[in-house]
């Protein structure tokens, strides 16, 4: 299995809920979406994996805190035929993913020199898809691979420097399942920033998404994942970058919305000298349950990775974090670091953290750290003694907590994220 990392675990197969993917139904769906025949073949193969892969085993740390049954699509899949709701695209470069239809690309996107087309709109997509997230990555990934209904391939040509960030808008829909699949292929020496914006949703909305990012040799890719679903939404998102020789990747994630959501974020350092940095903030409140997994897998020597993940948890919310650093036998001279900090803002808030290391060779430098602590009363007292009101003090302290992490986000995108953080802080303070 491409992503089997906890090699010491039994491969017990937990029976999965039955999903009826007949080959005929997959073929028909693929035709309806106007895919190349390679699309139907890929879907069939993925459906075969889905039938045998089994449901996530909760003995695994990856699923210790979230019940996979909570994240299952609620309706029959392969049905997306209705015309999509109108969503205004911004004037800046943007692509709108539409279930059952081709992605909508605005003129600004075309102007920055990247292309965006429906996945399996071309036969050669088969050579790109599945390289970072194979169908057998896990149950939800196999489900997405067989039944994705909103696919896009973004390509950045060799040595091209995209002048402005490209925004991918992916809307969840109340009472519906959406299975988006994003593939970003960045040529050698190219440079791009992609913002994946998950919004919308509401009661009964389910999202099962997969994003693959192929970072070519010496390419430079920033990926920003924003999740701001409405209450009532549940979802599972998997993001993997595969980084070739001397490529650089920065993955930033900001998790705000949804009732129950699980994210599997990470990078495979495939080529010598590859570098990857993951930063994340999450601020669950009320009764939200947000579960983040990060993973850095070093396949080649002299690779470098760092993870900085912060959770500020309020209300009766729960943040669960698991993070794995794995250095394979053939990756000498690698360095990997990981830090997870949790700020507990209320008595009923809950934080879980499992930072994991799997090191298979000796010439490495690795460390990880994790902490959990309440708001520091001394900091609050200090601010208040300077005449800053209690609410404002709280806001400042939490902002300070996530600030260093947000600073990793490329200039130009940071303001957006800070605005989202501020909106959430407003809500936190209001509910205290």
């Amino acid at each position: 299995m491409a992503n089997t990392t906890m090699t010491d675990l039994a491969n017990a197969v937990i029976p999965a809920p039955r999903t009826e993917f007949t080959d005929a139904a997959l073929d028909a769906f693929s035709r309806r979406l106007g895919e190349d025949p390679a699309g139907a073949a890929w879907r069939r193969a993925a459906a075969a994996v889905n039938r045998t892969i089994g449901f996530p085993d909760r003995v695994r740390h990856l699923w210790r805190y979230t019940d996979p049954a909570d994240l299952l699509p609620g309706r029959a899949l392969l049905q997306a035929t209705e015309s999509p709701e109108r969503t205004e695209l911004p004037a800046t470069p943007a692509v709108l993913l539409r279930p059952g239809h081709e992605p909508l690309v605005n003129a600004a996107a075309a102007a920055v020199g990247v292309t965006a087309e429906a996945l399996f709109g071309e036969a050669d997509h088969a050579q790109l898809v599945g390289r970072a997230v194979a169908a057998d990555h896990g149950y939800f990934e196999s489900l997405n691979a067989a039944a994705f209904d909103a696919g896009v391939v973004v390509r950045v040509p060799r040595d091209h420097v995209a002048a402005a960030p490209l925004r991918l808008v992916i809307a969840a829909v109340p009472g519906r399942d959406v299975l988006p699949r994003v593939l970003v292929a960045v040529g050698a020496g190219a440079s791009v920033t992609v913002v994946e914006d998950h919004l919308g949703g509401g009661a009964g909305a389910v999202v099962v998404g997969v994003t693959e990012i192929l970072v070519g040799a010496n390419a430079d890719v920033h990926h920003v994942l924003v999740q701001r679903w409405e209450d009532g939404t549940v979802g599972h998102l998997t993001v993997r970058a595969r980084i070739e020789r001397d490529g650089r990747y920065l993955g930033a994630s900001a998790g705000f919305g949804g009732d129950v959501a699980k994210f599997d974020l990470g990078a495979i350092l495939a080529g010598e000298g590859a570098r990857s940095e993951l930063v994340g903030v999450t601020l669950p409140d009320r009764r939200q349950h947000l579960d983040h997994h990060t993973m850095h897998r070093h396949l080649s020597g002299h690779t470098w990775s760092n993870i900085d993940f912060k959770a500020a948890v309020a209300g009766r919310a729960r943040s669960s974090y698991t993070g794995l650093l794995r250095i394979e036998k053939d990756a000498p001279g690698s360095e990997a670091y990981q830090e997870n900090r949790n700020l507990l803002l209320s008595e009923k808030a809950r934080a879980d953290t499992i930072p994991e290391l799997e090191i298979l060779t000796d010439d490495v430098s690795c460390s990880h750290g994790a902490t959990a602590a309440p708001l520091d009363p001394e900091q609050l007292f200090y601010l208040q003694s300077r005449g800053i009101p209690a609410d404002e003090s709280l806001r400042l302290v939490v902002r300070g907590f996530v600030e260093l992490t947000l600073r990793q986000v490329p200039e130009g995108l940071r303001a957006d994220l800070e605005a989202l953080v501020d909106a959430r802080l407003e809500r936190l303070v209001g509910e205290r």
Partner: protein, 471 residues
Amino acid sequence: MSVERIADLNLDYATRYGFHDPEEYLHKAPKGLDHETVEMISRFKNEPDWMRAYRHQALDTFLAKPMPRWGDQSLLHGIDFDDIHYYLKSSEGSANNWDDVPENIKRTFDKLGIPEAEQKFLAGVSAQYESEVVYHSINESLEKLGVIFTDMDSALAKHEDIVKRYWATVIPAEDNKFSALNSAVWSGGSFIYVPKGVKVEIPLQAYFRINAQNMGQFERTLIIADEGASVHYIEGCTAPVYTTNSLHSAVVELVALKGAKIRYTTIQNWSNNVYNLVTKRAHAHEDAVVEWVDGNIGSKLTMKYPAIHLLGERAHGEVLSIAYAGTGQHQDAGAKMIHAAPNTSSRIISKSISKDRGQSTYRGLVKVHKGCHGCRTSVECDALLIGAESRTDTYPTMEIAEDDVRVEHEARVSKLADEQLFYLQSRGIDADQARLMIVNGFIEPFVRELPMEYAVEMNRLIELEMEGSVG
């Protein structure tokens, strides 16, 4: 396979220690495990009905429970439960006097240095040979203080009321498959009761031995420190080399009542064909202190996660452990701290060395329950890698359901540093000696906590293991 693996690391183990005495058994249960075996063990020991019933029930639990789906699956599934003797009794009863201990057993202990140590300052020696304690001596002053220090079988016969009161209150048979197995077929182990306010100044110790092929060792230890009492218990393990797998599955329960202090020190040096699957857990009540000092050097696979349940306010728990894994070994060890009362504190320091193709794993849990405000806990893991094929894993789990707490975890992985080696060699120290010095420095925080003669033994063991280090 086992033969090669053992030869790999301990080529001269047999000549060095010469542990292999010819088997000489009075009773040897047939291989395999069923209710008949359990009935036989219990009847033979003349146990009260409640214990016999407990064993049978535990056996049902053991048979019903699946093997763990986590951990080193390839090694775990190498255990053949039907190919193990579940009970042996090597000589008649326990001896109170060294002169009464049979000669062949004595010879073995001589090589371990027990009588000598006893002459110095050890209070009581209760050495477990096969499945039952054969030698036991208790310092008179301890008896006068009302301290009970005996083997578990004798304790059940002579102090049934107190044994029954605490039996399986910390680790129920249902806890896991191996605690269920132990509960069904346990034999031997130590029992200590320290009355209120009594402080036992000298460490109490027992040596465990395995000396028969295909024989499991299922000792059961229960230590109770009553209010304000304190005791330090030392469990040392060493075993002869064998060519087929042995299973060691102990259950150790500690109860530290209000204000009591228990320190439990283990140096585990099983031969490298032994499965060491042990459940160790302590209850620390109000203001109590429990410390596990845990060294794992031998065995093929060790799975051991000493736990402390902090049940009373201001209770404190510490685990200090080191693990050494050479080729063919997997040391899967860790610690668990369960904060179930306010203002409790805990600290875990874990160090591991993986050499050549050895694998070490830290697996731990820190849990803070709702309402347990004012808790403090820190976890520190340090892994040293020697050799490109060595492996280390760290799986710490932290679950925090209370805001007013401080939880800290840190882990580092590094290889034996070339600069340190170079520095030492430039001072005229040869490479092997330099490596040993670095490793000794690495484990020093652990060794420092051991009584002197154990510290010496520990250093000697590491020296043996480090011999012929890869260059």
